[in-house]
Structure formats: C-alpha cells, structure tokens
C-alpha cells in the first residue's frame, strides 16, 4: 500500500511539471486561438537566461525576477515582431510560424550555450517528509505549490482586474472588443508575454529535476499537450488537472502493468485522452462547441 501511495505521489510530482507548461499553452490558446509549438523551447531559453544570471553570481531569487521580467518582455516582443505580420493569415499559418520558432530557438540555445548538461539550482530544500513509509519530497511539494499559486494568480488576474477583463473580452470576441474601445493588439501581446512568463516559471521548476540542456523541454511538451488536450484547451484549471492525471496514469502504468512496461507507458495517457475525448470532444473542462451557421 505504501508503495502504491508512493507511486501516486511521484506521479503527482511529474504531473505538476506537465501541468506547469500546459498552463502556458492554454494561456496562449485562450488569447490567440493557436497552439504555440515553441512554448516549451521558449521556457527552455528563459531557463538558460536564469542560469546565465546565477552563473554570473547573482542570487537565485534576483536572477528569477530578472528572468521573469525578460521573458515577459520577450514574449511581447515575439508577438510584435513575429506574429503581428501574419495576423490576418489562416490560423494554420500562425501555427507553422511557431513551429519555425521552435526549431530556431532550440538550435540557437545549442549554439549559444552548447549541449553540455548544466545543473540548475533547486529553489526548494532537499529532503522529504516521511510518514508511514511514504516520502514526499520537499521539491515535489514545492512544484505543486508553485503551480497552484500560478493558477490562482491567473484566476485573480482574469477575474478581478481591469486588464483581465479586457483580456477576457478579446479572447471572447476580438471584433466586439475592439468596438468597445479595447486595444486588442496590445492585449494579444500581453497574452504572449504572460504565457512566456508562465513558461519561464515552468522551465525553472523543471530544470533542477531534468537538468538543463537545449532539449530539456522537448519531452515535457508532448505530455503538456496531452494534459491540455485532456483538460480542455480553454480551461487553465482543466490543464492543471489534466497534467496531474497524465502524470499519475503514466507513473502507475509504468510501475504496475507488466505487459505494458516502461517502453509503452506513453500509450496509457494516450488511451485516456482518446477515451475522454470520445465522450467529451472538447476535453474534460472545455466548453462545448455551438456552431452558428
């Protein structure tokens, strides 16, 4: 039993990591209606920036704040420079632009920082709480806490601030939002900035566990996609829950289902997603589509 609970805990830890990136994916989808393939790579790049700061001798928290600020600015800049020129184009064109960005950023990171593996300071103390044969690592708890906090802050931002209201308006209906005097382009840029910021948080959380190198987020991105698909691309809470479910399912399957084994365990979240989507095509928490002809 303790073994099972332990696997559950570890699954939640892995899931929290997927959830953190899924949050960024969902954010950008909400504002722009596109899937940003480059989200994971941008997070990785942000983490390298943070690494560069700590490497230069800055204290961790200062480095983190600087990195978050740079990521936010960088995200807005990317929207301005890369996305704005193709704004009117079919959405698939935008998706392919983010794909180009994915390839570009990944190669650039390798070019700048090389492919040597770098250790990244862990903001959380090592060690673990132990009870009844189950140990809960401080860092696992920390990651879960940060993800919950980010989700809560996003909720507050959207719900109770003027800027959040404007963002919701643009997400709901860009045309009408513009008519009532909201500067939609500014809001879109803000969306990119916010997503990049949340991505940076995700990267910093992931790096102490997975170690920093240019391909760090590649594997995470797939699971984050799975999490967002499962939870529904228009629901931040759904993305987080989706991430946790995927993490737990994958861990338990790898541990207990003999015939699956660790090589095929990625099939388990896949099966869950297919199953859920066949019943609810819009994801667990997504809103159903109502077509207007």
């Amino acid at each position: 039993m303790a073994g099972f609970v332990q696997q559950l805990v570890e699954g939640l830890g892995a899931g929290a990591i997927y959830a953190s990136l899924a949050l960024a994916l969902v954010l950008i989808y909400q504002f722009t209606g596109i899937v940003n393939f480059a989200q994971g790579e941008l997070a990785m790049f942000s983490t390298f920036i943070a690494w560069q700061f700590t490497h230069a001798g800055l204290p961790f928290w200062l480095a983190l704040i600087l990195t978050l600020a740079i990521s936010f600015g960088g995200g807005m800049l990317i929207e301005r420079v890369l996305i704005r020129p193709v704004e009117g184009a079919p959405e698939l064109t935008l998706v392919i632009v983010t794909l180009g960005l994915f390839i570009l950023v990944n190669a650039a990171a390798g070019w700048i920082w090389s492919f040597l593996i770098k250790d990244f300071p862990n903001p959380f103390p090592s060690g673990a709480f132990k009870a009844g044969g189950v140990s809960l690592g401080h860092s696992t708890l920390g990651v879960l806490g940060v993800v919950a906090a980010v989700m809560g802050l996003l909720y507050l931002l959207f719900r109770y601030t003027k800027i959040g209201l404007a963002m919701r308006a643009v997400a709901a209906n860009p045309g009408s939002a513009r008519l009532v005097g909201i500067r939609t382009s500014g809001v879109l840029a803000l969306g990119w900035g916010l997503a990049a910021l949340v991505g940076a948080v995700s990267g910093v959380l992931v790096a102490p566990v997975l170690f920093l190198e240019p391909n760090m987020m590649g594997g995470v991105l797939v699971y984050a996609f799975a999490a967002a698909t499962l939870g529904g691309f228009d629901s931040p809470a759904g993305a987080v829950l989706g991430g946790l479910i995927v993490g737990v399912a994958e861990t338990l399957a790898g541990a207990y289902v003999g015939t699956i084994g660790s090589d095929l365990k990625i099939g388990v979240p896949l099966a869950i997603i297919l199953g859920v989507l066949l019943v609810r095509p819009q994801g667990l928490f997504g809103r159903a589509a109502v077509e207007r002809a």
Partner: protein
C-alpha cells in the same frame, strides 16, 4: 461571454474559392506539356544524385497530396501523417524482407493497410476537430515508435530492416536511379490525377462545403460522417503509398526514420507549399527536401537556426503558401496583360 466565444476556433480559415474548376483550354495543355516534358526528360539529363533528390521530392509530394486532401480540402488537421507514412514504409519493407515479393506489389498492399487503419481512426476522428484531432494524431504517431521497436521479430526492432533497391528490368537498359524515378513519377502522376478527379466529383464539392461551413453543409444534406471518415482514410492511404515508395528508394527502414518530427515537417511542408491548391504538394515536397540543405549552406554552425528562420520568412512572404504566392504573381501578370 457572447455565444461567439463558445464556438471552437476552427483551424484553417480559407478563402471560400473552389480551387479546381472545369474548362480545359489551349493554355492548360501547354502547361501540362511544359510540366511533363522536363519531368520525363530529367533522369536523362541530371546526375544520378539529382535524380535521387527529385525522386524523394516526388515521394514527399505524394504524402503531401494526402495531407492536402485532409487539411486543405476537408479542413481537418493531422499531425500524425508521419505515422501512416511509417506504416506504409514498414508494410513494404516487411513484405520485401520476409516474402521477397515483387516490389511493385508492395504499393497496393501498403495502400490497403493504411486505408483500413485510416478508416478505423477516421471514425473517432469524426468526434474531434481542429486542434484536438491534431494532437491526438500526433500522440498516435509518437506511440508508433516504441511499438515498432517492441515487435522486433517482424520489424527488425530498433536496428531496422536493410533491403536492396529494386533493379530495373533488363529490357529498359536504364540505370537504377532512372528506373526508380520513372516508376515513382508514374505513381505520383496517377495518384495526382485520381485526387484531381476525386475533387471534381461530388465528393470534392461535398468536402469543400464541409470545410467552408460544416453546419450549412449538413443542412444541405451532405453526409458529414461518411465524407470525413473516407477523407481520413484516403489521406492515410496516400501517405502509405508515399511510405512504400520511400522504402524502395531508401532501401532501409528504422523507427528513427519516422519520429514525430516527420509528421510535423510534413504539415509544415503542405502549409508552406499551399493548402488546398494543386501545386501545393509539389512545392511542399520541394521545400521539405531542399530547404534543410539550403540552411546548411547558409550557416554551417547551426543549420537549425536558418531552417527555423526560413520557415518563418516563407510564411511572411506567402501567408497562404508558395502556391498562393505564385497565384498572386499570376494575377499581377494577368492585370498587366489586360491593361495592354
């Protein structure tokens, strides 16, 4: 929130123009000759390496033809076509490796296998759309890699299967690369014509109606489910055909040849080439094959940086793909001609 927000953002938004029309004029024949002549003459003019490259362009063209049918004409997105491509490749490779069948037979076999699988997947795909379908197909393509490794007695596992290239019949006195090119060209031409014919039939009209406005199409009596599932199957079948030809040309398959990258590059290829247009798959094939090489020419240290940048730049210059760019050029010329 207005109920507009409840609508899914539908992925590709296209001009409501139908890309294929009737009326075969004098010009059209001239164009056809202009295209066919160099295509047939190429293997006798070019160095074997160039012929090989063109053969690969045609292989990718066939795969993109399938993807175009699905994404460009039916408005469904697949990020898993690399999976069907892999399935076609492996079907051909296993047949050649195990039973030593005549290689031409592997083409219909690969098409049959991928058609059936595409049809089976087309049924759940009915329920999903846009982004959800794209991501589900992507996970299936990713899952295929460990699956291929697992059944190693059949697939050769991670070592893959090494085959030998089909040799030309003696009476042709052609070199191997020339023969392969001509065979692949013939298959590509036949499949392209089949797709054109399909799009001109009522099926094509139904597909466009669905793509442009699903609800309206349904009201008009288009049988949505049937067309969507069939399109998925046809599209998978074309990717499978491309896969089989890939096996002939490369003579080697391994799980590493078919990572998620392939699916993503294929989708990028068709968007860059031009969705919903006739020339799109061919231009996309040219892009998929030549641009990585071009990137290394520009920056030896990090070709990826250039490749990524080139994708972005092409999308800037031609938001509706290279075929659209050609179309714009055509319209400009037309206007100039009219003024005269």
């Amino acid at each position: 929130m207005s109920d507009e927000s409840l609508r899914f953002r539908r992925f590709p938004r296209f001009p409501a123009r139908l890309p294929v029309g009737g009326h075969v004029g004098r010009w059209r024949w001239a164009v056809a000759v202009l295209l066919v002549l160099p295509a047939v003459a190429a293997p006798f003019q070019l160095a074997p390496f160039r012929v090989f490259q063109l053969t690969m362009v045609l292989v990718y063209t066939v795969a993109l033809l399938g993807l175009n049918l699905l994404v460009g004409h039916a408005g469904q997105i697949s990020l898993g076509h690399g999976g069907f491509f892999a399935l076609g490749s492996y079907t051909a490779a296993i047949m050649l490796d195990r039973w030593d069948v005549p290689y031409l037979l592997t083409l219909p076999a690969a098409m049959a296998v991928t058609f059936v699988l595409g049809f089976a997947l087309g049924v759940p795909a009915l329920r999903l759309r846009g982004l959800y379908l794209a991501l589900v197909t992507m996970t299936i393509a990713i899952f295929l890699v460990p699956l291929l490794k697992r059944f190693s007695s059949l697939t050769g596992g991670s070592m893959g299967l090494t085959l030998s290239r089909p040799s030309p019949p003696a009476w042709t006195s052609l070199a191997e690369d020339q023969w392969l090119y001509l065979v692949v060209l013939a298959v590509t031409a036949a499949l392209s014509l089949a797709v054109v014919w399909l799009l001109r039939s009522r099926v094509g009209r139904a597909l466009h109606a669905v793509r442009d406005n699903e609800a309206a199409a349904e009201v008009m009596g288009v049988r949505l489910a049937r067309y969507k599932t069939l399109t998925f199957a046809w599209s998978a079948m074309l990717a499978g055909a491309a896969g089989a030809m890939n096996t002939w040309v490369i003579a080697f398959v391994s799980p590493d040849s078919f990572t998620a990258n392939l699916s993503i590059i294929l989708l990028a290829g068709i968007v860059v080439g031009g969705l919903g247009s006739l020339a799109g798959p061919l231009l996309g094939g040219v892009f998929v094959l030549y641009v990585p090489t071009l990137s290394q020419g520009v920056n030896d240290a990090a070709p990826g940086v250039v490749f990524g940048l080139l994708i972005i730049l092409v999308m800037y210059a031609a938001p509706t793909g290279l075929a659209g760019l050609a179309g714009r050029a055509g319209r400009v010329i037309e206007q100039v001609r009219r003024k005269k």
